[in-house]
Amino acid sequence: MPTTRTLAATIAATAIVALTLTGCSGAADASGTAGAVDAATATDVSAFGDLAGLEAAANEEGALNVIALPRDWANYGAVLDLFAEKYPEITITEAAPDGSSAEEIQAAENLAGQDTAPDVFDLGLAVALSSTDQFAPYQVAGWSDIPDALKEESGLFVGDYGGYMAVGYDPDAVPAPKELSDLLGDEYKGKVAINGDPTQAGAAFAAVGMAAVQNDGSVDDFQAGIDFFSELNAAGNFVKIDPTPATIASGETPVVFDWDYLNVGYGTQLEGERNWEVVVFPGTGYAGYYNQAINKDAPHPAAARLWQEFLYSDDAQNLWLAGGARPVLAEAMAAAGTIDTDLFDALPVVPDETVVPTADQSEAAATLLGEKWAAAVQ
């Protein structure tokens, strides 16, 4: 068909790849035993003796497969570079940097047994909760410092970095919004975008959640959020292109709903080209954390565990902070004095009240969005 990539072709290719790949599984060595330690069953660093033992085992594997880690997302570029610098013997393979959480799990299922399968995942909460049978439990050294609400108790997945749903805007193009309803005004005509479709992307889902709690609704009922975007659409203010640093730079999307750390990231990236301010609306804030997990079929189980230990080290946690995200160990690090206080104090002010939807609330909201969203913004 003469229209670039037709869907049928994509499906066909995927099916063929899946077929040929399952044919040659077993070729990869998934046992990953380093010395006497079976890394694939290690649930904390003591299985390797100490961190040096884990490092030795990981170096022996010599490779780490990560997936869906965009380099401009919460400072992941710097995190990956620091890991590569610290462990030069481990080659990092970055697959599908713009993939979704759901695609990470699909890749793990399709590539199970291959040495190209992802070792570790970085997941939104909804996917993490529904995919626990794909994870190997592991508790990092700083486990006890991680707030209970942000980790799965056996260590199947652990919150790592997060933030508040915020609005980024170009102060040269629009007046500063003080509250959500300001965005319905005439000054914002054809200017407001969401990072993705809420029926698909976690960040966009959170944007509707934030609009709901700011618009007299609650996380139990996203209808108020859907109503807000429906009004925004009727006012002609809603722009339905997917915002990227490119659309922000060109002025196509001067107002963007996104996580505060991603909005801060856009500002850093476009320094000198565009001014970019970030506001978390006062009142109730909508927070979300991304989670780390290890693939139970990880082809490099020791490297996967070393990656986890690395991500929860002070260095990496401070890198999240440098990217504008709130590291999960922030409180403990502030108490221990290991946090970068300049960066910590520079984060947008935390709203009076913070909500994070539970699994049930997320599911109900997703169902509601599936029914209502397409029609609400048409």
């Binding site: 063929i16 969401i194 722009v239 292109i241 997703a366 913004v377």
Partner: protein, 266 residues
Amino acid sequence: MLLFLALPTLIAVGTGFVGADGGFTLDTVAALGDPVVLAAFGSSIWLSALTAVIGAIVGALVCYALIGAPADGALRSTIDSLSSVLAQFGGVMLAFAFVATIGIQGMITVLLRDSFGIDIYADGVWLYELPGLVLPYIYFQVPLMVITFMPALVSLKTTWAEANATLGGTARSYWLRIALPVLAPSFLGSLLLLFANAFSSYATAAALTSQGSQIVPLQIRSALTSETMLGRENLAGALALGMILVMAVVMTGYSVLQSRAARWQR
């Protein structure tokens, strides 16, 4: 070849009948009756039909204008090769071209706004919505029409026009009684091909519109990759089944019309 084309189709269709637990179920296929899915099929069909009709008419007019030019002349060969290239010029490139020209900060938008005071987005930014897809789609539909319809126009024999003139016919009677009936199957066939082309098109829409998954291919993407609505991978199979049904009807029509048209092209 059969394996290459048929097997993925069968797998795609097959997943539509598999439930989340791996057993046989009709539930996912029943989900095709969901209002959101029906609306997506509706949008897909009207978008494809509209751009196919416009593309076919404009393309046919271009062809008609071209038969006056010498067959091996520079004009014909330039348009021929241009059409072959532009018919493939869909997807992200095309979407970007439109954002750069008639996006909110696009060259033409800004020119119209600043120099002529015309704001094409006075009622909201339609480029990133369903109606905004019409223009980009026509952009690859017209060249495709030129490629597929040109051979039919060329096969109109000059002897027919002469016979018509000899028998005292007018230009009107030539077109009404000879040319149009001969060309009709080719024209309708090309129209169906254009419809199928737009119906299965995905990347242009994916790059331009990010809200609501208004057409079926975007619904399939949503079902496969969503990180907020989980466990709907099998709905993608059911949606593919729906698309294949529509395509089967269209392509059957196309082959029937083609066999009629082929009679006059020998």
